[in-house]
C-alpha cells in the first residue's frame, strides 16, 4: 500500500501553518514533526521503490485547472526519488538546527521553513510543466521572507531584492516558455491544451521553437544554480541569509535547477539540448574554473562555500550535458553529495563563527583543532568529501561525470580536471586556515557540544555511509535517469555518426 504523494508533500507546510497559531515551543515541535513525518516517508518510499519499473510510481493525476489544461500530477521515478529524500533530510536537520536558536517572531520562521519544504518537494514531484513552474517560483517566496526578516540589519533588503529579481527574471522567462510549449504542442497535435510531461514528450516541437524555449528554461536554471556568469546575486544573497536558511538554500534549491535540466529540458527539448550542448559545456567549464578560482581567493567562509558551489554545480551541468547515461547518473549522485556536504559545511561555519566572536572571516580563525579534535575530525570528513577524495561518494560522482564527458568531449573533460585539482586546494586551505595553523586572534577554542553534535553528526554519518556504499544513492535511479537522457543521447549520437562520416568517409571496401 502506498501513501498518496500529496500527504508527504503538504505535511511540512500544514504542520508549520498550524504552528503559527501555537505558542513558541509547540510551533517548533509541530514544524519538526511535520518535516520528520515527510523524511520518514521518503525512507519508506526508497525501500518501496521498484527498480526498473517503467513509468511513475505512487502517481497522483487529477485535473486541477481544466480551462488551462493544468494537471495536479505528481509521481516518483528514478530521477526525483533520491533528490526528494535529500531535500527532506536537509530540511529536517536544518529545521532542528534553527529550532535550537532563539528567533524574534519565531513562529513565522518555522511557517516559512515548512512552506519552503513543501514548495521544493512539489517542484521535485511535479509531473506537469505548469505545476513545475508554479512550484519552482513558489519555492523562492519563503526565502524572500526568511532572508528579508531574519537576515542582518542594513544590507538585507537590497541583497534580497537583488536575489529575487535575478531569480524571478529567469523564472518568468520560463513561465512564458512553458506556456508556449503547451500551446504549441496542442496546436501541433490538435488536442486540448495539456502541460503533462508525458503529453509534451510524446510530440516534440520543431527545432526552431525548441531552441528559444530551451534558452528561456536554461536561463531560469542557470540563475538558480547559480552558474557563471549569472551568479551576480550569490555573494550578496549568501551574506544576508541566516545560516540555517542558507544551508537549506545552498544544499537543496540549486539541485532543483540541475534536476530541471534532466526532467524538463533533455526529455522535452532534445534537439535543442544537442544544439546547445557545446555552449552548455563551455559555460559549465567557466563555472568550474571561475568558482574554483574565486573560492581560493576569498576569505569569507560563506563565500568560499558559495563559490565552491558554483564550481560543483558546474560539474553537475557538465555531467548532464555530456548527454550520456553515465554523466547524468554522476550528476544526480553529485547533486546529492553536494547537498550532503554543503549543509554540514555551513553548520561548521556557524560553529566556527561562534568560536571567533561572530567573525566569518577565515583569517580570524585558526588552531581550533588543538582543543576541539572531534569538531576537527568531523570537519575533515566533510572537507575530504568536498574535494572528492577517492573513497568518498563524491569521488564516484565526479568519476561518473568525467567518464561521461570523456566519451563525448575529450578536450572539455581534460580542462575540467583542472577544477578537480583546484577543489583540493581551496578545500584544504579552508580546513587548514580554520583548524590548524596558529591560533587565530579572535578564537576561543572549544570542543563541540552535545547540542551542536546533534545537528552535525547525522549529516556526517550520511556522508560516511554513502562513502562506503555509494550505490545506495543511485542504484534504484539508474533506469529512470537513463530514460531521461535517452532522446537527447540518441540525437547526439546520430549527429556524431553523420559528422564522422562526413569527415572520414568510409573506405570503399566497406561499402
Amino acid at each position: 500500500m502506498s501513501l498518496p504523494l500529496s500527504i508527504p508533500l503538504w505535511l511540512p507546510a500544514a504542520a508549520a501553518f498550524l504552528g503559527l497559531f501555537l505558542p513558541g515551543v509547540a510551533s517548533r515541535a509541530l514544524a519538526i514533526l511535520g518535516a520528520l513525518g515527510t523524511f520518514a516517508w521518503t525512507l519508506w518510499a526508497i525501500a518501496d521503490f521498484e527498480r526498473g519499473a517503467k513509468g511513475l510510481q505512487d502517481a497522483t493525476d487529477q485535473m486541477w485547472i481544466k480551462p488551462l489544461g493544468i494537471h495536479y500530477k505528481l509521481g516518483l521515478d528514478g530521477l526525483n526519488l533520491y533528490l526528494i529524500a535529500l531535500a527532506a533530510f536537509i530540511f529536517l536537520v536544518c529545521l532542528i538546527w534553527a529550532a535550537m536558536k532563539e528567533w524574534e517572531h519565531g513562529g513565522q520562521l518555522f511557517f516559512f521553513f515548512g512552506l519552503a519544504e513543501s514548495a521544493v518537494l512539489g517542484a521535485l514531484m511535479a509531473q506537469d510543466l505548469a505545476l513545475f513552474v508554479l512550484f519552482f517560483d513558489l519555492m523562492l517566496l519563503p526565502f524572500l521572507f526568511l532572508a528579508g526578516i531574519y537576515g542582518p540589519e542594513g544590507t538585507r533588503v537590497a541583497a534580497i531584492t537583488k536575489l529575487f529579481i535575478y531569480t524571478l527574471v529567469g523564472s518568468l522567462l520560463m513561465l512564458a516558455a512553458a506556456i508556449a510549449t503547451g500551446v504549441l504542442v496542442s496546436q501541433q497535435t490538435g488536442n486540448d491544451l495539456s502541460f503533462a510531461f508525458s503529453d509534451l514528450q510524446a510530440s516534440p516541437l520543431g527545432k526552431g521553437s525548441q531552441e528559444w524555449i530551451f534558452l528561456c528554461f536554461a536561463a531560469a536554471f542557470w540563475v538558480k544554480m547559480p552558474a557563471f556568469p549569472v551568479h551576480g546575486w550569490m555573494p550578496d544573497g549568501y551574506k544576508n541569509m541566516p545560516l540555517p536558511v542558507l544551508a537549506v538554500f545552498s544544499a537543496v534549491l540549486s539541485k532543483v535547477a540541475a534536476y530541471g535540466f534532466l526532467r524538463v529540458v533533455l526529455p522535452i527539448f532534445p534537439d535543442a539540448a544537442v544544439h546547445f550542448q557545446d555552449l552548455m559545456l563551455v559555460l559549465a567549464l567557466g563555472s568550474i574554473l571561475y568558482g574554483s578560482a574565486m573560492a581560493f581567493t576569498t576569505t569569507d567562509a560563506r563565500l568560499i562555500l558559495g563559490y565552491s558551489s558554483i564550481a560543483q554545480l558546474g560539474f553537475i551541468t557538465l555531467g548532464i550535458f555530456s548527454l550520456t547515461g553515465d554523466g547524468s547518473q554522476g550528476a544526480i549522485l553529485q547533486s546529492i553529495n553536494h547537498g550532503l556536504v554543503v549543509a554540514p559545511a555551513f553548520v561548521i561555519v556557524a560553529y566556527l563563527a561562534e568560536r571567533a566572536h561572530g567573525s566569518e572571516d577565515i583569517r580570524d580563525m585558526g588552531g581550533i583543532a588543538f582543543r576541539a579534535p572531534v569538531l576537527a575530525t568531523l570537519f575533515l570528513i566533510v572537507v575530504l568529501a568536498n574535494l572528492a577524495m577517492p573513497g568518498s561518494s563524491n569521488f564516484v560522482g565526479e568519476f561518473l561525470i568525467l567518464f561521461g564527458v570523456f566519451h563525448s568531449k575529450l578536450v572539455i573533460a581534460s580542462i575540467a580536471f583542472v577544477g578537480v585539482g583546484m577543489a583540493a586546494v581551496y578545500s584544504l586551505r579552508f580546513l587548514i586556515r580554520t583548524m590548524h595553523n596558529r591560533v587565530g586572534p579572535e578564537v576561543e577554542s572549544r570542543e563541540i557540544s552535545f547540542r551542536e553534535g546533534l545537528v552535525l553528526v547525522p549529516l556526517v554519518t550520511v556522508i560516511l555511509f554513502l562513502a562506503v556504499y555509494p550505490q545506495f544513492a543511485i542504484h534504484k535511479a539508474e533506469p529512470g535517469i537513463a530514460r531521461a537522457v535517452a532522446p537527447a543521447a540518441l540525437i547526439a549520437h546520430e549527429e556524431n555518426v553523420v559528422s564522422d562520416a562526413a569527415v572520414h568517409p568510409k573506405p570503399a571496401s566497406v561499402r
Binding site: 486541477w64 485547472i65 481544466k66 480551462p67 488551462l68 517572531h105 505548469a130 513552474v133 508554479l134 512550484f135 517560483d137 513558489l138 517566496l141 524572500l144 521572507f145 528579508g148 526578516i149 538585507r156 533588503v157 534580497i160 531584492t161 529575487f164 529579481i165 524571478l168 527574471v169 518568468l172 522567462l173 513561465l175 512564458a176 506556456i179 508556449a180 503547451g182 500551446v183 504549441l184 496546436q187 491544451l193
Partner: protein, 511 residues
C-alpha cells in the same frame, strides 16, 4: 408625423433589472441623504448603497446564462445586450462598489460632500459602467461612457477643502472631456464609414466590404484613443498618477477597479464584436499599444514613493496586460481579460484598503513609509497587502499568477507570443516596485514610533484623510482580509472563476 415614426421599443424588464436596481438605488440613496438624522445619513445611507449593489448582484445571478437584447425597436438590434459578459462586468463593478462603500463608511470624503450625494454619484457611475459594458450601439456606448465619467469627476473633488482633491477632479474633468470628445468623434467616423450605429450593422457593413476604409480606420483609431484615455493606456495615461493620488482613497479604489472593468467590457464589445472583421487592421496597432503601455507603466512605477501613485502606474501596466486579451479577439482572449479583471478587483481593493487604513493611522498619508513594519504591528493588514503585491507581480499560488498565465496563454494561442514575452518582461520590471512595498512591510522597522512624533503644528502630511477624526475601523480591515483571502483562494482554486469568465467569452459568440 415624426413622433409616429418613432416606434416604442420592447423592453425586457427582467433583463434591465440590474440596471434599474443601480439607478433606483441612487435615487433612494439621494433622497435618504436629505433626511435630517445624523445616524441616517452616516449609517443608513451607506447601508442602502450596499443593499443596492447587492440587489444588482442578486438580479444579475437571476439573469445569468440568459442572453438577450434589451430595448429592441423594430428593425434594430437593441441598444443594450444582457449576456454573461455584461453580467460579469456588473458583478465586478458591484463587488468593487460594496468594497468602496465600506472604505468610505467613516472616511472624510462623504462627510464633506454630503453622504447622499456621494453614494448616489457612486451608484450612478456604476450604472454608466454597466451600460458601457452592455452597449451594442454607438449611441449607448457614448451614453454609458459619459454616465460613468461625469459622476467620477465630481467624486474626485469631494474632499472640498483639500487642494489636491480639487485639482484631481479638475484634471480628470478636462482630460476626461478630451477623451470623450475624441471618442465621440471616432464613433461619428465609424458611423460615417459604415452607415450603421448598431454593432451588428457595423459588423455586416465591414464584412460585406461596403465600409469606406479611410473613414472607418480613422474612426477606429479615434475610438481607440478615447477608450485608451479611460482605461489609462499609454500614451494616454498621463492623468492617471495625478488623479489617483489626488482623489480620496476610497474614490481612487472605486475608480481604479470599476472604470477599468467597464472600459475593457466596452472595448471587448466594440473591437471583438462590431469591428471583428477589421481585426487585421486594428490588432497590430492595439498590440503595439499594449506593449508600450506595459513598459511605460512598469518603468514609471519604479521610482514612486507614494503608494497611490505607485498603484496608478501599476494600473497603467496592468491595462497593457489586459489589452493582450482584447488583441487576440478569441474566446480564450475574452476569458483571459474577464478573469484578470475579476482578479484585478481583489488585488487592488486589498491594496487600497490597506492604504486607506494607514492614511488614517499614520502621519505619512499614502507614502510608502506608512506601511513600514506593518508585518509585526498589523499582520491583518500586512498579509492582504503582501498577497496583493505578490499577486500583482504574478507570483504563484496567488490569483495574479493564474491571471497572467491565462493572458500569456491567450496571447500565445492567438499568434502573439511576442506580446506574451512582453508581459513577462513587464512583470520582471514590476518586481522592482512591488517587492519594495513587501520589503517595507516585513523588513523595515515599524513606523509606530513615528506616529508620536507628529510635527509640532499637529498637521500631518496627508493624501486624503485626517487621522484625528478618522479611525481605521473593522470594515476597512474586513475588506482587506476578504480580498486577500480571495487572492489566495482563486490562486489555488481558479476553476470556478475561470468557468464564469469562459461563459462571458462564449457570450460574445464570435469565436
Amino acid at each position: 408625423m415624426l413622433l409616429a415614426a418613432v416606434t416604442k421599443p420592447t423592453i425586457d424588464w427582467a433583463g434591465v433589472s440590474p440596471l434599474i436596481a443601480l439607478l433606483g438605488g441612487s435615487i433612494v440613496v439621494l433622497l435618504a441623504g436629505l433626511l435630517r438624522g445624523r445616524f441616517i445619513r452616516e449609517q443608513i445611507v451607506p447601508f442602502l448603497t450596499i443593499v443596492a449593489f447587492a440587489t444588482t448582484i442578486g438580479l444579475g445571478i437571476w439573469q445569468w446564462d440568459d442572453a438577450k437584447d434589451l430595448f429592441v425597436a423594430k428593425g434594430s438590434q437593441g441598444a443594450l445586450r444582457s449576456d454573461d459578459l455584461t453580467l460579469m462586468i456588473t458583478f465586478i463593478v458591484s463587488v468593487t462598489g460594496i468594497g468602496a462603500v465600506l472604505l468610505s463608511w467613516r472616511a472624510l470624503a462623504p462627510r464633506e460632500a454630503a453622504h447622499g450625494e456621494y453614494f448616489a454619484l457612486m451608484l450612478t457611475s456604476a450604472a454608466g459602467m454597466v451600460i458601457l459594458a452592455a452597449a451594442q450601439n454607438l449611441v449607448s456606448v457614448f451614453l454609458g461612457l459619459e454616465l460613468l465619467s461625469v459622476p467620477l469627476y465630481v467624486l474626485c473633488a469631494t474632499e472640498m477643502r483639500r487642494e489636491r482633491s480639487l485639482e484631481s477632479g479638475l484634471k480628470y474633468l478636462i482630460i476626461g472631456s478630451v477623451g470623450s470628445a475624441t471618442f465621440l468623434y471616432g464613433l461619428a467616423f465609424i458611423y460615417g464609414g459604415t452607415g450603421a450605429t448598431d454593432f451588428r450593422g457595423i459588423s455586416q457593413a465591414i464584412s460585406s466590404d461596403v465600409a469606406k476604409d479611410s473613414l472607418l480606420l480613422t474612426g477606429i483609431g479615434l475610438t481607440l484613443v478615447g477608450l485608451a484615455f479611460k482605461a489609462s493606456v499609454a500614451p494616454f495615461h498621463q492623468w492617471t498618477p495625478d488623479v489617483y493620488e489626488g482623489a480620496p482613497t476610497p474614490v481612487t479604489a472605486w475608480m481604479a477597479v470599476a472604470t477599468k472593468a467597464a472600459a475593457f467590457g466596452g472595448a471587448l464589445r466594440i473591437f471583438d464584436v462590431a469591428l471583428i472583421d477589421a481585426h487585421r487592421d486594428w490588432a497590430p496597432a492595439l498590440a503595439t499599444l499594449a506593449a508600450i503601455t506595459i513598459i511605460v507603466g512598469n518603468v514609471g512605477a519604479l521610482s514612486q514613493s507614494s503608494l497611490k501613485r505607485l498603484l496608478a502606474w501599476s494600473s497603467v501596466a496592468q491595462a497593457g496586460y489586459l489589452l493582450a486579451g482584447v488583441v487576440v479577439a478569441s474566446r480564450v482572449g475574452v476569458q483571459a481579460t474577464v478573469f484578470y479583471l475579476a482578479v484585478y478587483l481583489f488585488m487592488n481593493l486589498a491594496a487600497f484598503a490597506v492604504i486607506a487604513a494607514r492614511e488614517r493611522e499614520t502621519p505619512y498619508g499614502d507614502d510608502i513609509r506608512a506601511v513600514n513594519g506593518l508585518g509585526t504591528s498589523r499582520p491583518l493588514l500586512a498579509w492582504p497587502m503582501t498577497l496583493a503585491m505578490l499577486s500583482l507581480a504574478g507570483m504563484p499560488a496567488t490569483a495574479g499568477f493564474i491571471g497572467k498565465f491565462t493572458l500569456i496563454d491567450a496571447a500565445a494561442d492567438g499568434g502573439y507570443t511576442w506580446l506574451g514575452v512582453v508581459i513577462v518582461i513587464g512583470s520582471m520590471i514590476s518586481l522592482g516596485y512591488y517587492l519594495k512595498v513587501v520589503a517595507a512591510m516585513w523588513m523595515r522597522p515599524s513606523a509606530a514610533a513615528d506616529v508620536a512624533t507628529r510635527d509640532a503644528s499637529g498637521a500631518p502630511r496627508l493624501a486624503g484623510a485626517d487621522p484625528i477624526t478618522d479611525r481605521a475601523d473593522w470594515e476597512v480591515t474586513l475588506v482587506a482580509v476578504l480580498c486577500g483571502a480571495a487572492i489566495l483562494v482563486f490562486g489555488v482554486i481558479p476553476s470556478p472563476l475561470l468557468n464564469l469568465a469562459d461563459s462571458a467569452g462564449k457570450a460574445l459568440g464570435l469565436l
